[in-house]
């Protein structure tokens, strides 16, 4: 992992205090993988860095895109940063999603600020393995949207919108919301994924792998879905972090491995864990 002074090349502000930051960080862009995050120093006044997952990495342009939501003081300071300013960024950090099986169908489920790693995963899967992305949000999505021309089994008539940049790349995607957003499935995103999975035939469903990132209730629902349909599920977790390099053991989650409990570090042992390893989601 690399520590660098990254220049802000774009900073777009969206509804619901969501922001998309583009940073010039060539070494990070070159090595970043879906599921990994960067640890950002937001100001000299805020002691600890903030972990933010990577939404896209462009090795050629040397940029990484981050989507974050203002949740506290640190992210508020970050939101005020201007194009041209530099931020100290450490990354890429963490064990990425395992996207290595060309024979799998990856079902990517993202909620809120958990959507970015799913976008990154989808983009990297193009031309290698089948995937479909379901994204949920209770505030307007911070992306250009447009009606999808790709049919998806099981998806109801009102869920017509997709993320335009995914549609352009030929990645099937649908959206869910409880806030009555136009063109979205009315309900939670795991329910949308469930309808899709139930509409697949047995053989097709059995090669699905669930990858999820988002709020805890969503991760619980995805873990349940995996158990119910006997599909592997991998969850990307969040926890307060200090070092981000595995040094402090401050960022742990409880795991159960061969019948024994451990606390594993979310930063370097994760952030992605198999759901069946996490007693919290059992």
């Amino acid at each position: 992992m690399f520590e660098c002074e990254a220049r802000i090349v774009a900073h777009a502000h969206h509804a619901g205090d969501q922001h998309i930051l583009r940073l010039e960080a060539p070494s990070i862009a070159e090595h970043a993988l879906p599921g990994q995050f960067v640890h950002v120093r937001v100001s000299d006044c805020h002691l600890l860095r903030r972990p933010v997952s990577i939404m896209l990495a462009d090795a050629e342009k040397g940029t990484v895109d981050l989507l974050y939501k203002v949740v506290g003081e640190g992210t508020r300071v970050l939101a005020a940063c201007q194009v041209g300013q530099q931020l100290s960024v450490l990354g890429p950090i963490g064990r990425p999603f395992d996207l290595g099986d060309a024979g799998s169908r990856y079902v990517l489920i993202g909620g809120g600020v958990g959507i970015p790693p799913m976008i990154f995963a989808a983009v990297r899967l193009v031309g290698f393995a089948d995937c479909v992305l379901f994204a949920g949000s209770e505030v307007a999505f911070p992306f250009a949207l447009r009606p999808s021309t790709m049919l998806l089994p099981g998806v109801q008539g009102n869920a017509i919108l997709s993320i335009a940049s995914l549609e352009d790349r030929g990645i099937p995607c649908r959206l869910a919301s409880n806030a009555g957003l136009y063109g979205c499935f009315e309900g939670h995103v795991p329910e949308l994924a469930r309808q899709y999975l139930m509409a697949l035939d047995e053989a097709e469903r059995s090669r699905c792998v669930l990858l999820a990132c988002g709020p805890h209730p969503m991760l619980h629902a995805v873990a349940r879905l995996g158990r119910e349909l006997d599909l592997p599920a991998f969850l990307s977790l969040e926890e307060f972090m200090a070092c981000g390099v595995g040094g402090c053991a401050g960022c742990v989650v409880k795991t159960l491995e061969e019948g024994r409990e451990h606390y594993r570090r979310v930063c370097v042992d994760g952030p992605v864990f198999p759901a069946n390893m996490l007693p919290e989601f059992a």
Partner: protein, 311 residues
């Protein structure tokens, strides 16, 4: 004199450290975590202190274990470690002992347990053992020993016959009379002091109305504790100097200037912990800053700066 001639190596409890920087226990895992960062080098540090280790493995505390506070952070890790034997058998063999010193950080719930940990580390490549009698985050032992000068001395006495390696006692700032504890642990056989460990604090989640830290209280570290650390170092300096005992000064060091303040106050070596969380490449910056400062003040070595505080 040029910057390159300046001698940053120091002598600490009979050991030659290539630089005065020591990476602090609990902040750098079991020694090699920071090698993940491009540009990090063990050659910038005089010693690396491993995570606090007990006789038996410990799971540690449930999350949340850490929380940012103004100019600092709270932690209550709860001494998560795989036990002294595992550290000696499985972790120490893979560390590059030719690059820097690796020191153990011994913990226990009784003087006997501390002694056993010392015995296990005696037969290992660590070159010193730091005694943590000041951990605020475990139910038994830890800080209870640190706050009781007699008990602190008993822990050192119990460990002393078990090892010929230097013993460095880490003192708690939550201690009524730190100089008195320093005197007692020196007389009990300490070869060095570590000053200070974290202060005890807490934070509240106002939405849930619960303590943020699952352990309720945690240890406060970082710049917030720097003035306390300097004062405690100052209080220990006279007694340590009288016995020729070196001090590893620590608590909130985040810049070359911080390090210089500790050196002037009497830190024979300087500890970096929380400062690494802000900047994982802090070590070379501190070394450069020290060299520049020493040159500007016509000093040829770090050692000449130590304890130079005018009274």
């Amino acid at each position: 004199m040029t910057v390159t001639d300046i001698d940053l190596s120091v002598e600490f409890a009979g050991l030659r450290l290539q630089t005065p920087i020591v990476l602090l226990s609990g902040c750098v895992g079991f020694g090699d975590e920071y090698t993940r960062v491009d540009g990090y080098s063990h050659e910038h540090v005089g010693a690396v202190i491993l995570k606090g280790t007990t006789l038996e493995p410990r799971l540690g505390n449930p999350p949340h274990r850490i929380y940012e506070t103004p100019a600092g952070m709270l932690n209550a890790i709860g001494l998560q470690n795989p036990g002294a034997r595992h550290v000696v058998e499985h972790i120490l063999p893979r560390l590059p002992h030719d690059k820097t010193h690796f020191w153990a950080n011994a913990n226990g719930t009784s003087p006997e347990e501390y002694a056993e940990v010392a015995r296990i580390f005696d037969d290992s490549p660590v070159t010193a053992i730091e005694i943590n009698i000041s951990c605020p985050n475990v139910k038994a032992g830890g800080i209870h020993f640190g706050n009781d000068p007699e008990m602190a001395a008993r822990v050192v006495e119990a460990m002393r016959p078990m090892t010929s390696k230097p013993l460095i006692t880490k003192l708690s700032p939550n201690n009524a009379d730190i100089a008195e504890t320093a005197r007692l642990v020196i007389e009990a056989g300490s070869d060095g002091l570590s000053v200070i460990n974290t202060l005890v604090g807490m934070a509240v989640d106002v939405d849930k109305r619960i303590p943020v830290i699952a352990n309720v209280s945690g240890g406060l570290s970082g710049p917030a504790i720097k003035p306390v650390a300097l004062w405690k170092l100052h209080q220990c300096r006279a007694i340590a100097a009288r016995h020729g005992i070196p001090i590893l000064g620590q608590g909130g060091i985040c810049s070359p200037r911080d390090a210089i303040e500790f050196a002037i106050t009497g830190a024979d070596a300087i500890g970096l912990g929380t400062g690494l969380f802000l900047d994982p490449l802090l070590c070379p910056k501190v070394l450069d800053g020290l060299r520049t400062y020493l040159e500007r003040h016509g000093l040829g070595s770090y050692a000449e700066l130590v304890g130079s505080l005018a009274s």
